[in-house]
Amino acid sequence: MAKGIKVLSNKSMSLNDQLVECKRPEIVYIPLVNHSKMDCECLVKVGDKVLKGTVIGRRNDNIDLPIHASVSGKVIGIEEKLYCNGEGVKCVAIENDFREKSVDLRGAKKNIASYSKDDFITILKECAVTGMGGGDFPTYIKYKSELNTIIVNAAECEPYITADYMMVKLHADEILEAVDAIMEINGIDKGIIAIKESNIEMRDEFIHYLGTYPKITITMVRNVYPIGWEKLLIKEILGIEYEKLPSDKGIVVNNVSTIYAIYKALKYRRPISKRIVTVTGERLQEPKNILIRLGTSMKNVIEEFGGYIGSSKIRFIAGGPMMGTCLDTDDLVVTKNLNCVLVIDDKDEADLPCIRCGRCIAVCPANICPVLIKDKVNDFESLKYLHPEKCIECGLCSYICPSKIRIRESVREAKKEIRRH
């Protein structure tokens, strides 16, 4: 298994400023989406009055998860908007009445460690806590099994992104309190916060409060990409390898921002309605971290903060530079799993013939052979032993390729080919 490589960080661009909050949006668009399910059920109709936290949709296949309104107001339509994976999805459009009236969820406890495990899982579910590092995977599922270790993923390994760092800067204490409570509730005895060794500042933020929580330790991990990938992170910190899920080994990994969402859920029994997004890139007037209401259109946010600079073509990317998706418009809705919007120059670099240097193989953290997969994209028999389905789409193969071949796309295609059979 490859161990990741050092990539350019470019983080300082968005780090220079304090967190700012953007204007409250006139209209929010809440996508009826969770994780891989792109068409969740809609529970409201045009004209309905909703409050902040009203369940307006629900995922009800094998996973049960509500979808909440992020403002109070009136449903004015079901519209298609751009989701961060580049697809247009159905969204509930809510006209904001600027009253911030919230659903009153009773039963929040002062001491957040005093919930039972069942209550804990129910709360994560009803507050729709999902992975905020990008996955949008329902968090409660991770807590269903017996656990012994929690790793808080604060590695934030993608270049440019500093949203998690900003989160820690503002809420280190609450995050630690939540981790401590999670450990108490789930009978977990090992709590580890994983920080990149280059990010001393983040460690210092935690150290201010760490004394109160003797069971939680900080581990500094190598400054490589994709160290934030669960499998690599667990291997790095604990030396453990697993087949399917980390919970098979009693391990749970949560992103820091997700932990903060858990904190909110436990403390107030409320879903989050805003998130920090790193809005950065050389083509933006003011790269910074912005606290944005879920469902806001990115277009308005960018306009509010000075818009673009320059006149040549831009690339508008939802997510980080490695795994993010390039979009052909900025009319993107902000969702819980959108940690970054990146706007950079559109420099076209023509690809050269593959010289079969093997770097894409050497670098692949999923231990597969991108260039050989490219040779056999449509050959199902060969794909069976090449395992393109193990690809985590980290993009390192395309990153490292000296011929600048977008080799990840070939692996994606092969994945589709596998799925067709």
Binding site: V7, L8, N10, P159, Y308, S311, S312, K313, I314, R315, F316, I317, P321, M322, M323, G324, T325, C326, L327, D328, T329, D330, L342, I344, D346, D348, E349, L352, P353, C354, I355, R356, C357, G358, R359, I361, A362, N367, I368, C369, V371, L372, Y385, L386, H387, G395, L396, S398, Y399, I400, C401, P402, S403, K404, R406, R408, E409
Partner: protein, 476 residues
Amino acid sequence: MEFGFDNGPHLKDKDHTSKIMSRLLMALTPIIIFAVYKNGLLPYLEGYTNLYGMLKPLIIILLGVLTSITVEIIYFRFILNKKDNLIEEVKRSYALFPGLFVALTLPINTPLWLVVLGSLIATLIGKLLFGGLGHNIFNPALVGCLFVIASYGALIGARGGYLNPMEIDTIAGVTPLTNLSNINYVGTWSNIVKPFGSLRDFLLGFIPGSLGETSKILILLSFIYLAVTKVIKWVVPVCYVSVVFVMTFIIGTMNNIDIFYPLFHILSGGLLFGAVFMATDPITSPTTRIGQIIFGLGLGLLTVIFRFLSPYPEGVLTSILTMNMLVVIIDKIGAKAKFKKGYLNISLIVLLICIITFSIYIGYNLKSNTNKVDDRFNIIEIREENNKVIYEVTQKGFKGLIKANITIANDKIIDVDITSQSETYWMEMENQNYINRLINKQDDLENVDVVSGATISSNALKAMVENVLADYEVRK
């Protein structure tokens, strides 16, 4: 605002294929300079050749490069009908390399038209007809080189083969490996290495060989540079050379030859050059790390087999072309081994068994041949006279044959009577009483110092004495 699209990732590593190729060229530059110096400038300065002879290595290299570039331009323009960006296309195809490598793997005495032909074959058949850069199965340069050596080897040999103008006059005969095969692979320091100087000369490159291959020290330095800057798959040469070392070590040890033997094998011929520059050609070598290990091990095994068991003593070219053919299969093993360790273990065990078996087989078979002697030595007659054995023999010296009657009594040489010779520096040897020194130290010939100024003649005499003793030993 206009939005561009790209699948990403939107950060790219700074390294670039064109930079890789420039680094390769950079690593080759000292080797090219040395080739020009050793084969052209040096003989010229020492007065062994004329101006043309001085420029010949440079001409060969330039001709090789120009030919392959021209071929690609013509191919792209007229066969593929690319009109715009023609120069760009040819640049992107790194057209100069096949021709350059062909030139560096050819002997200095290759006729110029043959250089052009070899480079043409390399570029056209070895590369373009397979579909161009990235699609060829065989190392293009080796395809061209194989063609030249296989079809016109005799012609080149007749013109002096691998010997530069200076070596023709100072070294009797051949390349170290041909010499080794002539004496049937077994011998001592004095008939394996000594005729060409010392291992230091091997290392520095002042021995006969193709243009690029002789300076091992430069090749090693290039290897380090290329490995550190990630131009080549360093695993391949490391495995390759290790296997050759281990196998020739076993073979040598079985035949009581010192540790210099494996070193000789590594430093002779095109092994290092081939291992560092040819076997690592990215396009024709495996992409997986495990594949590269198997590839390297296989190369070593094949090279030793070819060197000892085939009539062609070089072995590197043929091994690389053979292994090129297997790359697809090897990569398949490499890919499978990522998830099933069994594939790796089985291939390694099979290779290891082959390596050991062949070493022992070759080592054992050489033993029974030990008695053959070098072809510069000839026995005219053996007489027995009252308990004495008299050998009438000839040995090729610096100039022509040295004839002698050598008398043995009680298993010892008691007299060496030179009956005719035409050596240039005979007086020096007589002055130093060289023959008597040989007779006195006949049990320890290796440590008899040669007469300075008459190295080749001294070595010839020494070899003669050695050969007689060896023959006598057998007959007894």
